[in-house]
């Protein structure tokens, strides 16, 4: 079997089948189950990496399900792609690397974090299903499959949010998350119905080729943007985020960050690949920018006042999503102006896309450090913490690295992507750039508060028994801390090799269409 040829579908089916087989594998013992989970995710990561290498070298790769040859996108008897087609470009594989890496690290962290006898096998089944859904969502080339993968993502992550089902808050958060996700999914289905009714097509590339931008198309666009903006947690559609991230187990909060970014991917794929030729695309771009600015500002203002460490971090996740929306929104706003696009638009997009992976890394790290604190101290309340640096020195260092990265201090990864956003957005609108910088200052203030109240100060009597977390949890945090530092020290390698191709793939609508037609 040609592994590379079938890698796109294998990258979805390995975690999917791996997850479904987990309850059976558990019968052979806990160690076998744990190895099974890690190996499934390692193999998925390997598949995504070989796909990335291939796509960066040879361009877009397609995979048609049910075709005699997977690369035949259009059946001989038809003139349109009627089967499910996976279409992978540099942006898709970039998102897949981000998702699978965080899922892998979260699963290593969970080995000790999730205690045995608490439905651990089901936890892993859902985590693998969630990974399959994220990979499927970013690999698919048609709208209906996108909807299906989004549904798998919402349901699996919704159940994981309710993992601590003995707590009323977790059940309430999961209920809210599933209901709001269902409302969003309904809007997406309605939009897909509008487009299908008009063009008889579901394939994104084929649709992009024939779209007439009628009123019903605009309605579909608005429904899709609103639903995916809700999924990525943009203000004012963000209210489920602190509930869900706050109540989910800490490693799941880290995975939820990348799951939300899959929604961000869908938002950008729809805006750029389907609708970038819309005459009023500037209005859509400004909508994305305004959602970004609101997310940045309101996210950080709400975060700074939080007393619950995980809700605080959840509000920061909203705030950081704002940077991505701002950077890529500016790219969308100047997509019709080739001079502006080349001059600063592409850099703004690169900054936004770079921030996606940076945020996944440092916010993943921060959620894991929060998990480590909760694991040992048993509370999320910052008022009940203090002096933990004496007892948990490694966790303290990891938290500090994550906190410095999110606040955009050099030489960590957050600084590099934020600098790209500040400088390029300044040429589009200085005010937006100034707001972005101000938000970074408030982010710093917020994390100084967490660092001071949780880790600084004298040893507390009630924390006498506290010690550092188990090794597997430390290893997972160490990997993310090293990535935070290495990406920060060598940003050019990441930007040149995966970020820049991803930004160019997003802009180049004709190549995406040409991949299928």
């Amino acid at each position: 079997m040609n592994l590379l040829l079938h890698a796109p579908i294998l990258a979805i089916s390995i975690p999917l089948l791996g997850g479904l087989a987990t309850p059976i594998i558990t019968k052979f013992g806990k160690r076998v189950r744990d190895s099974w989970i890690i190996l499934s995710l390692l193999f998925t990561e390997f598949l995504v990496l070989i796909l990335t290498h291939d796509i960066l070298s040879n361009g877009i790769r397609t995979y048609t399900l049910g075709a005699k040859f997977p690369t035949d996108t259009i059946p001989i008897a038809n003139f349109i792609p009627v089967r499910i087609v996976l279409e992978l470009d540099a942006f898709s594989v970039f998102m897949a690397i981000t998702s699978v890496t965080i899922a892998l690290i979260a699963s290593i962290y969970s080995l000790k974090f999730i205690k045995e006898g608490t439905a651990k096998s089901k936890y892993y089944t859902l985590l693998l299903l969630l990974t399959a859904a994220m990979v499927g969502l970013v690999f698919t080339g048609d709208l209906f499959s996108m909807f299906v993968f989004l549904e798998i993502l919402s349901i699996s992550s919704g159940v994981l949010v309710a993992f601590y089902s003995h707590k009323g808050e977790a059940l309430e958060a999961a209920f809210k998350y599933i209901v709001i996700s269902a409302v969003g999914a309904l809007m997406i289905l309605l939009a897909i119905g509008l487009l299908y009714g008009h063009y008889n097509l579901l394939n994104i590339a084929a649709l992009a080729n024939v779209l007439k931008f009628s009123f019903s198309d605009k309605v579909a666009l608005v429904l899709l943007i609103a639903a995916f903006a809700m999924k990525c947690g943009a203000v004012p559609l963000h209210m489920w985020v602190p509930d869900a991230y706050g109540e989910a187990p800490a490693p799941i909060s880290a995975v939820l960050v990348v799951a939300s970014q899959a929604g961000l991917y869908a938002l950008f794929r729809i805006s750029f690949t389907l609708f970038s030729a819309l005459p009023t695309i500037e209005i859509v771009a400004w909508s994305v920018i305004i959602l970004g600015v609101l997310s940045m500002f309101i996210g950080v203002i709400m975060a700074i006042s939080q007393k619950n460490i995980k809700r605080l971090m959840a509000y920061h996740a909203i705030s950081q999503t704002g940077y991505m929306l701002l950077g890529i929104g500016v790219g969308l706003a100047v997509i019709g102006n080739i001079n502006a696009l080349n001059s600063f638009g592409i850099t703004a997009m690169e900054g936004g896309i770079f921030h996606i992976i940076n945020h996944a890394i440092y916010k993943g790290l921060l959620f894991l450090t929060a998990g480590a604190i909760i694991y040992r101290v048993g509370t999320k309340d910052l008022n009940k913490m203090g002096g933990l640096a004496h007892k948990m020195p490694f966790t303290t260092i990891f938290f500090l690295i994550g906190a410095l990265a999110i606040t955009g201090l050099p030489p960590f990864n957050g600084f590099a992507s934020k600098l790209m956003i500040y400088e390029s957005v300044f040429r589009f609108s200085p005010l937006l750039s100034i707001i972005a910088m101000m938000v970074s200052i408030l982010t710093l203030a917020s994390f100084v508060k967490v660092f001071y109240s949780a880790f600084m100060g004298p040893k507390l009597k009630e924390h006498n028994e506290i010690r550092e977390v188990p090794k597997t949890m430390l290893i997972a945090m160490l990997v993310l801390a090293l990535l935070t530092l290495l990406v920060g020290l060598f940003p050019d390698i990441v930007v040149d090799n995966i970020i820049s191709p991803a930004a160019h793939a997003l802009v180049d609508q004709s190549k995406y269409i040409g991949g299928v037609l």
């Binding site: 809210k176 004012p236 700074i304 008022n383 390029s424 050019d492």
Partner: protein, 111 residues
């Protein structure tokens, strides 16, 4: 050059920055040797300063950090908290509001 990131209008080299920081830290450490050495360890001279609080009042809890900021921003926070009701109805309400605003703007803009 290794580590050089083009930012559109300028560039950023974290390696140069890190080496510079290391040199500055060394310099600061060197200058520190010229400092006053007559302090008495274990007395108030070496006690941590924490906004005038006595060390026995430590740790300062999260509730007390930035209290002045929150007091000054109280009105704004009340307004923001009014939006964050935690009610699912309101989540859906905002969803509909965004759809209506975007549709209206896009329809008017397309005329």
């Amino acid at each position: 050059m290794m580590g050089l990131l083009q930012t559109g209008t300028g560039f950023w080299n974290p390696l140069v920055w890190s080496v510079s920081l290391f040199i500055i830290v060394l310099l600061v450490y060197f200058i520190r040797f010229f400092g006053e050495k007559k302090y008495k360890p274990g007395t108030e001279q070496t006690m941590p300063f924490c906004s005038g609080s006595h060390p026995s009042e430590l740790p300062i809890r999260a509730n007390s950090i930035y209290w002045g900021f929150f007091k000054a921003m109280d009105k704004h926070y009340k307004a923001l908290n009014r939006i964050h009701t935690g009610l699912l109805d309101d989540y859906v309400f905002w969803f509909i509001i965004v759809i209506v605003i975007m549709l209206t703007v896009l329809s008017i803009g397309g005329l």
